[in-house]
Amino acid sequence: MSWVRRREIPLIIFAVTFLISLLQYYLAVPFLSEVNTEMTNWVLIMSTFALGTGLIALCIYHGKIIMQKKSGYFVSIILFISMLMLFISYYAAPSFADYLYNEIYTPLSIAIICFTAFYNYTAIYRAFRVRNIDAAVFAFAAVFLMMLYAPIFEVILPQTATVANWILDVPNMGASRGVIIGVALGTIAIAVRVLLGYERAYTG
């Protein structure tokens, strides 16, 4: 069975799937579209299967931590309790599952995301110092875009919105397109390198 571990196998899989999905986009060949649809269904099945294997791996990993009483094992116990509670309540008492999701999980997630706001403001205080011309342009654009998202400025000074929208529509648009093209080129480059067999990081 050593042929299964050969490095050529993932390369062949990549080459075939890449060419089919690329060509079906450009060529009006019904057969290619049908094969592509079938392929995307396979990806879907594999992704769903991966969720199951992920659950098993998670249980084994945290199970080991609890059995060996490693540091922080109580966190793993909390994980099992929460997982079981949500799983059982989803089938036995759906309204309780809703409660767990909406009133416990959601506020906790929001709390973590909210930290970005606090960090944002200290970052503004530290980073928006006009040390040179680049920093000046950056601070100028940032101030006007901040004003765009707060109604108070648009009410007091309607011109702020005009300036901010100009920044969005002209310099921002040009820069964004440049970066989109750059990233697209990077993606083509990686596809070609994988196709030629030079890029092997994805095989682990």
Partner: protein, 269 residues
């Protein structure tokens, strides 16, 4: 002196001020007027021009952490869709999506819409972009819905065969729009993004090319939408806090530069 204190305890002071400015409007609402953004109007007009029975595809592709930014906007838009009696098919490319859709449906007035006939929650599609591609090539891929009911008997499932049968597609996301653009653009006439405000600048090229018909920019967009719907909802309540905290951002930029220039000039002298 004030600047010295601020530079020494900047983090603590700024955190405290942000906290106060966020909570203050809850007790003392300012009620500032809200100017409309043309793209929000465009979304409103597009949904308003829907005829009863038009098919709309919606995907909830965000995590609960950004509920305030995107969930409230989705609530307002869904409410408008139910008022217009559109038929709604809900999917998700984020595992949290179906639960968030379920929450939205519980919190809005469904205007007598019947599950399975007027709307359906199909559930989560794994694989992210591959999942999108799979759904686009076969939108009837679901045999059971999110709640485990067979979809074969649902009248709404017979209303479409291909992705082109949907009149409109609305998606809510907070990271990037490129995968949605790659998979859906050109296949559905009207694509609307409900997006967190921070990614809006980078989405503008897609608006300019018409690949994205229009967008709602986070909770600010939701507040504008509530104004168009004539309701005073949750997003409207947040706008005062948004105005105050963003003002803090502008003030901090000025203070930081004042302190910096003073130090620099003082040093030169």
């Amino acid at each position: 002196m004030a600047l010295e204190i601020l530079s020494k305890y900047d983090r603590q002071i700024i955190f405290l001020v942000v906290l106060i400015l966020t909570f203050m409007p809850a007790f003392y609402p300012i009620g500032l007027p809200l100017p409309q953004y043309f793209l929000t109007n465009k979304v409103y007009d597009a949904i308003n021009s829907l005829k009863p029975g038009d098919l709309v595809l919606i995907s909830f592709d965000f995590a609960p952490g950004v509920w305030v930014e995107l969930g409230i906007a989705m609530k307002d838009i869904m409410q408008h869709l139910f008022i217009k009696r559109a038929r709604i098919v809900i999917i998700a490319f984020d595992p949290n999506g179906p639960a968030l859709a379920h929450r939205v449906l519980n919190e809005i007035d469904l205007k007598g819409a019947v599950y399975g006939k007027d709307y359906v929650v199909l559930g989560y599609i794994p694989g992210f972009e591959a999942g999108m591609a799979a759904f686009v090539s076969n939108p009837k891929m679901f045999t059971v819905d999110y709640y485990g009911n067979p979809t074969a008997d649902m009248p709404i499932m017979n209303a479409f065969n291909t992705i082109g049968d949907f009149k409109m597609y609305i998606f809510a996301c907070y990271t990037w729009v490129d995968p949605w653009m790659r998979q859906f653009s050109g296949k559905i006439d009207i694509i609307i993004g409900v997006l967190s405000a921070d990614i809006v600048p980078q989405v503008m090229p897609y608006i300019n090319t018409g690949q994205l018909y229009s967008l709602i920019r986070g909770s600010r967009g939701a507040a504008e939408y509530e104004q168009l719907l004539g309701i005073k909802g949750e997003a409207t309540a947040f706008m005062d806090a948004a105005s105050l905290t963003v003002s803090l951002g502008v003030i901090l930029t000025i203070v930081a530069n004042y302190g910096y220039l003073k130090k620099k000039l003082g040093g030169r002298r």
